[in-house]
């Protein structure tokens, strides 16, 4: 049994087990959920450390035939691209389970849904079969709907939850059609990625087919990742969602579409990619500049963080569009770093909301005084969001800019401006308004994060961000060979810049 099966299986088994726990046993319910995510996290860390960078093919593979007639297999495996994502997903899931101590009503259903989402997205990252890839992601759909509807905040949570469901389903449907067309055009009679890739090496897809299928996947997955202009569901949805849902969604589930592009669309349809990446490069500016500017004007912390999260996705798109080794490596690093960052910031804002019941920046102020730990972590998180060195986001964004400079100089300049200036403006403005300045008497009695248990999720995420920022080689050494493999096909006309120097 591959550890990957444990990683995605334990949350799902725990969800089923929770069905049988009576709802009155609150402590048992919480303990089971936290324990399940903790074990998953341990497995993920172990997997990360045991991973051999540079080995060919996939590691820790497991394969079971599921539907013989269509050759759909349960096939999981890791390479450099998804090992970081799985680790990030497990960390965020653990933090999300820990942070949900404020859910006092129907905790059993809440944790069941949370565990379903976790199992689903980890399965999606680990999956090497097109069908399961899609299915595992969709597993998160109904839990999202119910979680935002029942435990969400704000008067328009119903509107938010329907909008998020319908938008994500639209993206999923478009990408499903793209995946099915890929399956049928590839002619490999199999949904298994490895089998399709091997088949396409011998008989590559005709360019016309690639040019039709790639945009379907691009926009289908793009909608799932809030590519501009299909991004409006994200800020509203995240501000209405309960903390754990926002952490999982903004941090982990959003990366699914990007992972799909890197894993499926780029290597299997290189000529289609080459035809469409210029469109992508300019669209991602919509994310970075437009959503960044919108974030600057937000008066509500969650909306600001939601828009900021959408803006950061622009960097990943730019990295993918660059179609070279440094850019793609940077894109994956941003995915991992942003996942941790989004989870951290939404977790912190959730903690604040419980006490103040408002996230209006205008109403808050001077919070560093009553809440030093909270304030310190939030300041560090905001600086990470600006791309300050020492955090993982800096590493990723720099790599993306270096990689994207050669093919797209003008978008890179604008993106760098967006990242540094606009990002700094809205992040620092938030810090100044919330953390510094006069302390309104209403908030003088706020409680800081005191106990170890409460500090743990934030500490875990922050440590991971710092670790990624100070020792990026741990991740990039693993990403590089796999990214090189993916780009081998796509870089016939655009040779990659020489490899990063490893320590």
């Amino acid at each position: 049994m591959s550890p990957l099966t444990y990683i995605l299986g334990i949350p799902l088994v725990a969800a089923v087990a929770l069905l049988f726990v009576p709802p009155t046993q609150r402590v048992t319910v919480r303990a089971l959920a936290v324990l399940a995510t903790f074990i998953t996290m341990v497995f993920a860390v172990k997997l990360f450390l045991q991973f051999h960078a540079g080995a060919a093919g996939f590691q820790f593979e497991q394969e079971w035939t599921w539907v013989r007639a269509l050759d759909i297999r349960y096939h999981v495996g890791v390479d450099g691209i998804n090992i970081g994502l799985i680790l990030m997903g497990a960390l965020v899931a653990f933090a999300a389970a820990c942070v949900s101590w404020d859910i006092r009503d129907r905790e059993k259903e809440f944790y069941i849904l949370l565990l379903l989402m976790t199992g689903g997205i980890l399965g999606a990252f680990a999956s090497l079969d097109l069908f399961f890839f899609y299915c595992f992601h969709e597993l998160a759909l109904v839990p999202t709907f119910i979680m935002i509807g029942v435990w969400g905040r704000g008067e328009n949570k119903n509107y938010a939850t329907f909008q998020i469901i319908l938008y994500l389903s639209l993206g999923a449907l478009v990408s499903l059609i793209g995946l099915l067309m890929l399956y049928l055009q590839a002619g490999a009679q199999s949904f298994d990625l490895v089998a399709i890739a091997a088949h396409l090496k011998q008989h590559p897809l005709p360019v016309a087919a690639q040019r039709t299928i790639f945009p379907l996947l691009l926009f289908g997955f793009g909608i799932l990742v809030s590519l501009w202009p299909f991004h409006s569901w994200a800020p509203l949805g995240y501000s209405a969602a309960p903390t754990a849902t926002a952490m999982l969604h903004a941090g982990v589930i959003k990366k699914f579409g990007l992972y799909g592009l890197i894993r499926i669309a780029l290597p299997l349809m290189p000529q289609g990619a080459q035809a469409w990446v210029s469109v992508l490069a300019w669209l991602c500016l919509g994310n970075i500049l437009y959503c960044g500017l919108v974030a600057m004007r937000q008066g509500d912390l969650n909306r600001l963080l939601g828009n900021a999260s959408v803006a950061h996705m622009g960097f990943v798109f730019l990295g993918i569009a660059s179609l070279n080794l440094i850019g793609l490596t940077g894109a994956v690093v941003v995915m991992v770093a942003h996942g941790l960052l989004a989870a951290l910031t939404f977790g912190l804002s959730g903690y604040l909301y419980q006490q103040t019941r408002t996230l209006e920046l205008g109403a808050l102020g001077g919070l560093l005084r009553p809440m030093p730990f909270f304030g310190a972590v939030l300041v560090m998180a905001m600086l990470a969001g600006c791309g300050v060195p020492g955090f993982g986001n800096f590493v990723g964004e720099t790599l993306v800019f270096f990689g994207a400079w050669k093919p797209f100089p003008l978008p890179t300049i604008l993106a760098a401006w967006g990242a540094l200036i606009i990002g700094a403006v809205f992040m620092l403005r938030a810090i100044r308004t919330m953390m510094h300045g006069p302390l309104p008497p209403a908030w003088a009695g706020l409680l800081d994060v005191k106990s170890l248990w409460r500090k743990l999720p934030f500490a875990v995420l922050l440590a991971a961000l710092l670790g990624l920022g100070c020792f990026p080689g741990l991740l990039t050494d693993k990403i590089q060979p796999s990214a090189q493999e993916i780009l081998k096909n796509a870089t016939e006309t655009a040779p990659g810049i020489p490899a990063l120097r490893s320590r």
């Binding site: 007639a69 259903e109 709907f145 329907f162 469901i165 389903s169 639209l170 059609i177 099915l180």
Partner: protein, 472 residues
């Protein structure tokens, strides 16, 4: 048939309060017949009644399907016995008669048998829909169904007359042999179209679907359930046999026609359901939308499409019966059919709420449930036809719009059940579940989840049965 008549007779001698328990006897007997059907092997078709009646994989698939549906409907009717005050033993008997009609419909190989089986189903449903004759709504539903049924029978017979007139035969085999000669005869084609119109009333596709929401709203819930599942599937069984056994070349030529009908039906059903507040009407519109999806599978004119349709029907069976079970239990308490009646369901009965959520998710097409795999197979069949004609791509996008619209109202029901605002009529009592109903719910849940997680078996049966279609 024999079972039905014997129940009618037994009912004469059973005291009033015991009549409900006759249901156990019926269910047991039906269960034994269902088990027995698995001993039959359909790989070599068997014929009877002068080649009118055929027993092959396709027929066996549908027979088992109808029996499972009837079993669950019988359980439902047992639990609603209080409302079916007109005579519960007779209700069981009528359900069995309708079942007999459906079993015949699965095996048609001749127009006469087609007519007889469809009529048996229709006439029985005249009574079943109007069963609660003390309520105006039920009588109204019965009358509407009567008029619709009469109209469809008229079309059927006229069409059959024209077909017989031009070809001189009524058997599907014989008709198939004469295809080359008849394919261009206008009168024959007109007759065929009239027959299709008659069948189209049964399966409720555009433009013959207007009766569905009204009849579903008025009939007693077990009847609506049987209509949604059994009658519709019987219509499709007959349609598939007719199109692929008797006139396959014409079916291929009229591809665009099927596409157009399916797209219109999906859109009508999905968009029409959005403003509905009455649960039975909502299920009526949703069943129209599902008929549209089945037609989409038909429009691909391929074995993959037919297998997809059969799998879809299997998933649809469990999902719709689960929904109607929950609805009958909830609506019986409050005698309110509004969506708000579902409020606080997960406090009143967590099992029912979860079943409803799973069933709605399955109907909407949420993965790892049976309904998703059915939709997936249909979409796959359509996408594989993309190179054949650009209209398939257009149909796909329209179907996608339908899927999204349907998600809206299916998820709206989940919303009402989990966090809806309660209305005064619904008190917060827990809903008690009798053992047979609980059993039925578990069976439906198991069906949806099992066929979603392990679709191999159902796919295998569906593909075996899809052998009637001559094109891959």
């Amino acid at each position: 048939m024999g079972l039905g008549i014997s129940i009618l007779l037994l009912g004469l001698w059973t005291p009033e309060d015991q009549k409900r328990n006759l249901g156990y006897a019926v269910i047991l007997a039906l269960g034994m017949i269902l088990a027995g059907s698995f001993l039959l092997d359909g790989s070599r078709p068997l014929y009877a009644f002068g080649r009118m009646f055929v027993l092959d994989e396709f027929a066996l698939f549908f027979k088992r399907f109808f029996m499972v549906a009837a079993l669950i409907v019988l359980v439902l009717s047992m639990s609603s016995a209080r409302q079916l005050a007109g005579g519960i033993a007779e209700y069981y008997a009528f359900v069995l008669f309708a079942l007999a009609g459906m079993m015949f419909a699965a095996s048609v190989n001749h127009f006469a048998l087609l007519f007889v089986s469809l009529e048996l189903i229709t006439v029985t449903f005249y009574v079943l829909t109007g069963y609660r004759c003390h309520r105006v709504r039920s009588l109204e539903a019965g009358i509407k169904y009567l008029i619709m049924g009469g109209l469809s029978s008229a079309f059927l017979v006229y069409g059959m007359a024209l077909v017989y007139g031009t070809s001189g035969v009524l058997g599907f085999d014989a008709l198939h042999d004469q295809m080359a000669a008849l394919g261009s005869s206008r009168v024959f084609l007109a007759g065929l179209i009239l027959i299709l119109v008659g069948i189209a009333f049964k399966i409720a596709v555009v433009p013959f679907q207007m009766w569905t929401p009204d009849v579903y709203q008025g009939s007693p819930t077990p009847t609506a359930a049987f209509l949604a599942v059994g009658s519709k599937a019987a219509g499709f069984a007959v349609l598939l046999r007719l199109l692929f056994f008797a006139v396959p070349e014409i079916t291929l030529k009229w591809k665009l026609g099927w596409l157009a009908v399916s797209v219109l039906t999906i859109l009508y059903g999905s968009l029409g359901a959005i403003p509905q507040r009455n649960l039975s009407r909502l299920m009526g519109y949703s069943s129209i939308a599902h008929a549209g999806f089945l037609m989409l599978g038909l429009a691909t004119v391929s074995q993959a499409g037919v297998a997809a349709m059969l799998f879809y029907l299997g998933a649809y069976l469990f999902s719709v019966l689960a929904v109607f079970t929950v609805l009958s239990l909830v609506m019986e308490e409050a005698d309110v059919q509004d969506v708000d009646a579902l409020a606080a369901l997960n406090r009143r009965s967590p099992l029912l709420a979860m079943t409803l959520a799973v069933a709605m998710a399955s109907l909407a097409g949420v993965p790892l449930l049976a309904g998703f795999f059915g939709k997936f197979l249909v979409i796959k069949a359509v996408v594989s036809q993309f190179p054949a004609s650009p209209y398939y791509a257009a149909a796909m996008w329209a179907a996608g719009l339908g899927i999204l619209a349907s998600m809206y109202f299916y998820f709206g029901v989940i919303q009402a059940a989990f966090w809806g605002k309660p209305i005064p009529e619904t008190d917060n009592q827990t809903i008690a579940l009798a053992p047979p109903v609980r059993c039925a719910i578990y069976v439906c849940l198991a069906g949806m989840v099992f066929f979603g997680l392990f679709p191999g078996w159902l796919m295998h049966w569906a593909q075996q049965a899809a052998g009637i279609c001559p094109w891959r």
